[in-house]
């Protein structure tokens, strides 16, 4: 069983596209190449459908998803998130006070590069910063409360095109480049990168799962995964990816995770927010 799995993975690892080297950071050029790669590889998938991940690749899965999405399991998380979002902190302020447009319909602008701190700030990090600034304890980044809040905020942003900016700041470019490096770097005993699965083999199978394309992969987060029997955030998604290739996961919202989310979100610019999503 295990041997078969390893063999399957080794086969997958060897099926790589032609490669070229690059030494300069040029997000716009990366963006064009990335989109071109996916749209040429999957000419029948409408551009906006890439955000539906594995369902854009497999008709059988898609039918089950459509049946489930008619009354989706993340509904309870969205309701809980709204209730949390509308409930003031002990000091009387709310989440709305921390965000542009009172936090409604803004998911597509995250993560962003904060020129003050010199860091990439994801929506999840911004929410915990908001809590701490108002004297509240930060939430665990993986699920539960954080997943509910981000589910609600994504829900209010559905359909809005991702609009990630990389400001003209060498530190922002460096963060983008680090995220890109993290994405393409092989790790874990199985020697897989994020790209091994989500660039080189989307639509293929890893064990039983249909692999999602990297283009638009962040758009559905947070997600309700049947495998988890519940909601998970971007952190949980990255952590489980690492574990699957037998790489020790980093801490949730580690700078490397933030950078890779920054890179992937920039690659998804123009695609609509579809979160919260439901996944197998």
């Amino acid at each position: 069983m295990r041997r078969a799995l390893l063999l399957a993975m080794a086969t997958l690892a060897l099926a790589a596209p032609p490669v070229f080297a690059a030494d300069t950071t040029n997000p716009q050029a990366d963006f064009r190449a990335f989109r071109k790669y996916f749209t040429e590889r999957f000419p029948k998938v409408p551009l906006n459908d890439f955000v539906n991940g594995p369902y854009s690749m497999d008709a059988g899965l898609r039918k089950q998803w459509e049946e489930i999405d008619a009354f989706p399991p993340y509904q309870f998380a969205v309701d809980k998130g709204k209730q949390m979002f509308d409930t003031p902190f002990a000091n009387g302020k709310t989440y709305a006070d921390c965000f542009p447009n009172k936090g409604i319909g803004i998911r597509q602008n995250y993560p962003y590069f904060d020129s003050k701190s010199g860091e990439v700030i994801t929506l999840d990090v911004a929410l915990n910063q908001c809590r701490e600034a108002n004297g509240e304890k930060p939430f665990d980044y993986n699920k539960d409360d954080m997943a509910a809040l981000t589910a609600y905020m994504a829900f209010t942003s559905r359909g809005k095109p991702f609009a990630i900016e990389i400001p003209d700041d060498p530190r922002a470019l460096a963060a983008y480049e680090k995220g890109k490096e993290y994405f393409y770097t092989r790790r874990g005993q199985l020697n897989f990168s994020c790209a091994s699965c989500h660039v080189q083999n989307p639509g293929g199978h890893l064990r039983t799962e249909v692999l999602a394309p990297a283009l638009g992969i962040v758009a559905a987060l947070p997600i309700y995964r049947s495998e988890w029997g519940g909601m998970g955030t971007t952190s949980r998604r990255l952590t489980s990816c690492n574990s699957q290739v037998r790489a020790a996961p980093l801490k949730p919202e580690d700078p490397s995770y933030r950078d890779v989310e920054y890179f992937l979100s920039y690659m998804s610019n123009g695609l609509p927010v579809s979160g919260p999503g439901a996944r197998p």
Binding site: I68, F71, P73, Q75, F76, K80, Q83, G229
Partner: protein, 103 residues
């Protein structure tokens, strides 16, 4: 605490289509927790829908119904604006109920 029940009932002509989702762990009794102990079975046994004092749908469920269970059915005789009552009881005697309006 929010209700455990979400319901959508839509009348079209004489027929009303009902969909409902209930927040419930539906523990089968076969799954172990993080410590390796079996999580005891905990599942909804009966889910009932009533319209105008009459039971229009009953579900008898076992532990094989998925977590946060979903059901869809349709019945005749109701109109837009009517009340539809939904209630459930599980194997531990816990219960919840709700009245929704048919749209």
């Amino acid at each position: 605490m929010a209700s455990t029940i979400r319901m959508r009932a839509v009348a079209s002509g004489d027929t009303t289509e009902v969909q409902a989702l209930v927040q419930h762990p539906m523990d089968s009794g076969f799954v172990k927790d993080a410590k390796g102990d079996l999580i005891p079975p905990h599942y909804i046994e009966v889910l009932e829908f009533q319209h105008a004092g009459k039971t229009v749908f009953t579900a008898f469920w076992g532990p094989a119904v998925a977590k946060d269970p979903y059901v869809k059915f349709s019945f005749k005789g109701a109109q837009k604006g009517d009340d539809l009552t939904i209630s459930w009881v599980d194997n531990k005697g816990q219960s919840d109920s709700l009245v929704g309006k048919i749209m």
